[in-house]
């Protein structure tokens, strides 16, 4: 693939990979001759977490496969903002079919490659949380169960953003969406049982499951690289804040992703063959308030006064995550 000369306006920034590091420790993104799977000029909103996550994830996958990559995309923001015909931001072989079938389409791509004896070209499928945890869950589970040689990446922004911010199975409790308005006795999304796809993926005992956020792009890249070093069905769940849907400042996208992990609301971990093997520790723990306050979708929890009951409930969820995934190194260790 041809390369794009990237101009760096900033050095020493994690955003382009730390150029103070040794060459072999640098990010794919710090290479001025990097291949750009998702190139500039697309139509994502300012501060879009998904665009950032997708570029880093696919560039890392390109590097890991020596550019021998085919990407399958579910319908959603990522598809719409990247390919308004006749334009395309993709510089990788790319196929979009439907909203709910990306895992099965990717299975088909992998099957065709296998039938043709092509062992070098690898397959990545990607979609938002609606495509992944709701409408495409059946095909995703089928792909996991057969252990098809596909890395599936979910960019989770916790609602159907492309259609105008409606609730999905991944929408957290109390969050305001267009279909869970902040009105009535229980404003925002209800407290349900949740539908945490990393655990559903782990229940299939697939070789690799990991979570990541766009607050730690080096961690995201490392996980993609690790996933691509394995064969079989692999799943990566990436938290990608959405300024439009979350009602946050576009400059705060990365900060909010970081607060999601520091509060314990979004655990970052890796699981191999169905067992958690590592988790990213919280160095500066913050109360959930700090995460919630930056997002208008939770503003009803703070106005006209703090809704202690609901915020405490959310805090308990964060506390449980911290305990379950051992996110804090306890005293004395």
């Amino acid at each position: 693939m041809s390369t794009t000369q990237v101009k760096f306006y900033q050095v020493g920034s994690f955003a382009v990979g730390n150029r103070l590091l040794r060459d072999d420790e640098r990010s794919v993104q710090s290479d001025p001759d990097r291949t750009n799977a998702l190139t500039s000029g697309h139509r994502a909103c300012q501060g879009c977490g998904e665009a950032l996550g997708a570029r880093y994830a696919l560039d890392a996958a390109m590097r890991a496969t020596n550019d021998q990559l085919i990407a399958v995309n579910a319908t959603g923001c990522l598809e719409v903002f990247s390919t308004p015909y006749p334009e395309s931001s993709w510089r990788v072989a790319w196929l979009h079919s439907l909203f709910g079938n990306a895992p099965a389409v990717a299975t088909g791509v992998a099957a065709a490659l296998k039938a043709k004896g092509n062992t070098t070209t690898r397959v990545v499928a990607q979609g938002g949380d609606g495509a992944t945890v709701d409408i495409g869950l059946g095909p995703l589970s089928g792909m996991f169960e057969r252990n098809d040689d596909v890395l599936y990446i979910c960019y989770d922004n916790e609602a159907y953003m492309n259609t105008g911010v409606q609730r999905s199975g991944a929408t957290p409790p109390a969050a305001r969406t267009a279909t869970t308005q902040a009105v009535g006795a229980n404003p925002g999304n209800l407290f349900g049982q949740g539908k945490y796809l990393p655990k559903i993926a782990m229940a299939h005992d697939i070789p690799y499951v990991a979570t990541a956020t766009i607050a730690d792009l080096r961690d995201l890249e490392a996980k993609v690289e690790r996933a691509m070093s394995m064969r079989g069905a692999r799943y990566l769940h990436v938290l990608v804040p959405c300024p439009l849907g979350w009602g946050s400042a576009s400059a705060d996208t990365i900060k909010i992703a970081r607060l999601a992990t520091q509060s314990g609301l979004f655990p970052v971990f890796e699981a191999v063959n169905g067992e958690v093997v590592a988790s990213s520790k919280i160095r500066h723990r913050v109360p959930v308030d700090e995460y919630l306050k930056l997002q208008a979708r939770y503003s009803h929890l703070f106005s006209p006064q703090r809704n202690d009951q609901v915020i405490d409930h959310l805090q308990r969820i964060a506390d449980k995550n911290i305990e379950r995934y051992e996110l804090i190194i306890s005293e004395g260790e």
Binding site: E79, R91, A93, H96, A111, A112, A115, P139
Partner: protein
């Protein structure tokens, strides 16, 4: 070499002779025996370099087919009835992306009420999906149509549905000749896709098309479907040259020369109709049969030519549009517009209701005298339904 085999087994062997690279399937009667046969052939090594994927739904079956075909693999699947409806979103996507997938539809009714037996409601529901639809009269034709379908699909870059009557054909043992892999190879060249997913030359397939181009994209699909009629004929001719059999093509006429009445139908009922028409001709009646093989593309000119000179055409259909009537009738009526031919429709065999020679003979005798309604439901228990209709009306 002639072999006495089940229709499904014959189709499985014919598909295997076409050397598909990816087969995906989900069980649904009466299609299951076909993919069971293929899974056996893949597993025992008879069909090498082929991936057989057991998927979790028909929606996934067509989706796997889309991914495989877009990667340049010759791809096959089979379904029926509810399964076809469950995959519909992907069915339209496959044709929209121009992917030459071949799919068998083992024709079966659609619920509710649930019914596993034969009619054409399933494939007829996909009339406007952008797929070619070829209907087999018997198991020999089912075999031959599958071999032709791969070639038509790949040369047109369009998907093809081969429709064969569920149970009546899929589960019937008949003598059929199944060409060998080498014989098929001489007829069906290796698949060279128009475009495919290749890291060496990355393309974006499936972009979002807005109002400024969507009409043009759809018009191209329309024109491609019209153009495919010539391809269907050309491939049938070449098939005859290779295998010595006249199968496939747009339609076939039987005893229509100078016939006053012509019955037009699709699928396995054509055989029964030929027997009835033979009997009626012995009685001095002037009646023939047109068997429509290609429903999509619809061969307007060929239908007009086949019906020319007749006084009336009777369209026998195994499906109908609720509240209006015959589906094929709409297209036939357009084909014969202004030709002075009267059209009558008979809906028969819904949900596997046997279409008997006695019933057909009785109906056709009345139809030849134009002593029937424009729309008739064959062997309908009229007393039973009238009681029910009156009850329902009283409740409204």
């Amino acid at each position: 070499m002639l072999r006495q085999v089940e229709g499904s087994k014959a189709v499985a062997d014919a598909v295997a002779a076409c050397q598909p690279e990816v087969i995906c399937a989900y069980p649904i009667s009466p299609q299951t025996h076909i993919v069971e046969g293929l899974s056996q052939l893949v597993k025992d090594g008879t069909l090498p370099n082929c991936e057989f994927i057991n998927v979790e739904s028909e929606f996934a079956a067509m989706s796997v087919a889309i991914g495989a075909s877009a990667t340049g693999a010759r791809t096959y699947t089979a379904t029926a009835s509810q399964g076809l409806l469950y995959m519909v979103e992907a069915v339209y996507n496959a044709s929209g992306l121009g992917l030459p997938i071949v799919m068998t539809v083992a024709n079966r009714a659609i619920g509710g009420p649930i019914n596993i037996w034969n009619d054409h409601s399933d494939s007829m529901s996909q009339r406007d999906s952008g797929w070619l639809q070829l209907y087999a009269e018997n198991n020999q034709e089912a075999v031959d149509l599958h071999i032709q379908a791969f070639r038509i699909a790949e040369e047109m870059s369009m998907p093809v549905m081969v429709c064969m009557d569920g149970f009546i054909l899929t589960h019937a043992y008949e003598q059929v000749d199944i060409p060998t892999t080498d014989e098929v190879k001489a007829f069906l060249p290796p698949f060279v896709p128009r475009q495919h997913l290749d890291p060496a030359e990355p393309v974006s397939i499936g972009a979002m098309v807005g109002p400024e181009s969507f009409m043009e994209v759809k018009y191209l699909a329309h024109q491609r479907m019209i153009d495919s009629a010539a391809k269907v004929q050309e491939v049938a001719k070449d098939f005859e040259a290779h295998f010595g059999r006249k199968t496939g093509g747009l339609l076939r006429s039987y005893r229509t020369d100078g016939a006053e009445t012509i019955v037009l139908a699709l699928g396995s009922i054509i055989g029964t109709l030929k027997d009835v028409v033979d009997e009626l001709n012995l009685d001095g009646k002037s009646i023939g049969v047109v068997g429509l093989t290609s429903f999509r593309p619809f061969p307007y000119e060929a239908v007009a030519a086949a019906l020319k000179g007749a006084k009336r055409v009777i369209i026998l259909e195994k499906a109908f549009s609720t509240g209006t009537g015959g589906i094929v009738t709409q297209d036939v009526a357009r084909a014969i517009e202004g030709m002075g031919i009267k059209d009558f429709t008979v809906i028969a065999g819904l949900g596997g209701r046997p279409i008997t020679i006695a019933s057909l003979r009785n109906y056709l005798t009345n139809a030849m005298a134009e002593n029937v309604e424009r729309l008739t439901f064959l062997d309908l228990e009229i007393d039973t339904v009238e009681v029910e209709i009156n009850k329902e009306r009283a409740l409204r």
